[in-house]
Symmetry: C2
Subunit: 213 residues, 2 copies
Amino acid sequence: MSAIRLLVLGAVRQHGRAHGYQVRGDLEYWGAHEWSNAKPGSIYHALKQMAKQGLLHAHEIAPSTAGGPPRVEYEITDRGEDAFFRLLRESLVAYDQKMDIQSAAVGFLVELSRAEALELLRERIRRIEQWRSDVTEHYIPEAGPGQLGHIGEIMNLWIHTADADAAWTQGLIDRLEAGAYTFAGEGEPFVGVLTEGQENPYATGERHPEDDR
Amino acid sequence: MSAIRLLVLGAVRQHGRAHGYQVRGDLEYWGAHEWSNAKPGSIYHALKQMAKQGLLHAHEIAPSTAGGPPRVEYEITDRGEDAFFRLLRESLVAYDQKMDIQSAAVGFLVELSRAEALELLRERIRRIEQWRSDVTEHYIPEAGPGQLGHIGEIMNLWIHTADADAAWTQGLIDRLEAGAYTFAGEGEPFVGVLTEGQENPYATGERHPEDDR
DNA sequence: AGGCTGGTAGTCAAAGTTGACTAGCGAGGG
DNA sequence: CCCTCGCTAGTCAACTTTGACTACCAGCCT
């Protein structure tokens, strides 16, 4: 599974009602084109697919107010809401080194309660540690790690990455315990969507040399 | 781009001549089903595609010696050889946080000369540092990082990951400089393929609880 | 002899992804 | 007034990925 469904569901949800181009704008605003496969084609595909599956409801074509073709507006359904939270919770605890999913989940972290977020992040650490010990136990040949030759460097890379991830997670836990950010039910939320007409400071353009990578 | 082409090309190349099931076995032996999308469908698809594109030559169907349908054997072509090294070099220097590609590249690292491998790894570090400074410069709002709210944690995650990657790369460089492993042209290479009839200690099975993730 | 299991080798439809392309409208220049 | 440019909003074909499925043979059990 990729991050696109979580991102699109979350974007539509935060808007209440959004069309594809709006979602596209939000994801760009979040920098998602940098760290996920959130390209136009994928976004529109995900919208259609999730509408077909009943996670979104498609309000048929409103003619555009600002030039261009008519647009389809989407709204999240109850089943979509469920799917969003299921995806979010899974993505937070799953250690599968897919950074795009992890990033997307962090972006929606504050949709949960602080207590649940902390719980999930602690579970994440437990799973990373479990994974780490499974790997070190099972992938080391009987004759010692030397038998693996340079192939052992792959395992080394993974362990190194897992440790870095656990450390980052712990850092986030510490910040959250210290009261950082505003979670669901804690008052005025931080909303990261672009309202109609607002310019996007991170729009695709010349401003990010790293786009060229 | 995914890791599958590099993996399949490299596997066929190390065998000299291999059919799909053999490639599948090698990738499993390398643990690639854990850290990449090397599923049967993808492997067979990649083989066919690369044969169509002239990177592999398909020796038409030899009847199987051990039950099952007849099998197609593949051999790498000169263009395939070029493509393999181009992919390998690219994958080593590219910092795009796709761990599957990085892992695959590490697996074939010793196909290069030690000098070139070191050169590429140093370039990798330079690129990570470049990426890091680009990101920190361009993605921090004028009003300070606090403006980002919890979204800033995504950037934090990426920076953290980049630093961990650079550290791992430096560690590998140190080990290679100290003479670790056997590179191309340095004598008897370490070959990580399964020969006919050899049992695969890492075959898909009950032995890896982490498969269940 | 018949049936069951398990390994061998691979196919296929459905889903997801990519990058290039289109079409409509407004603003601004000449 | 016309033409181009750029933004809005999206489509589409080609390609890749996924997971379930198939067919064949060997060995074992009864």
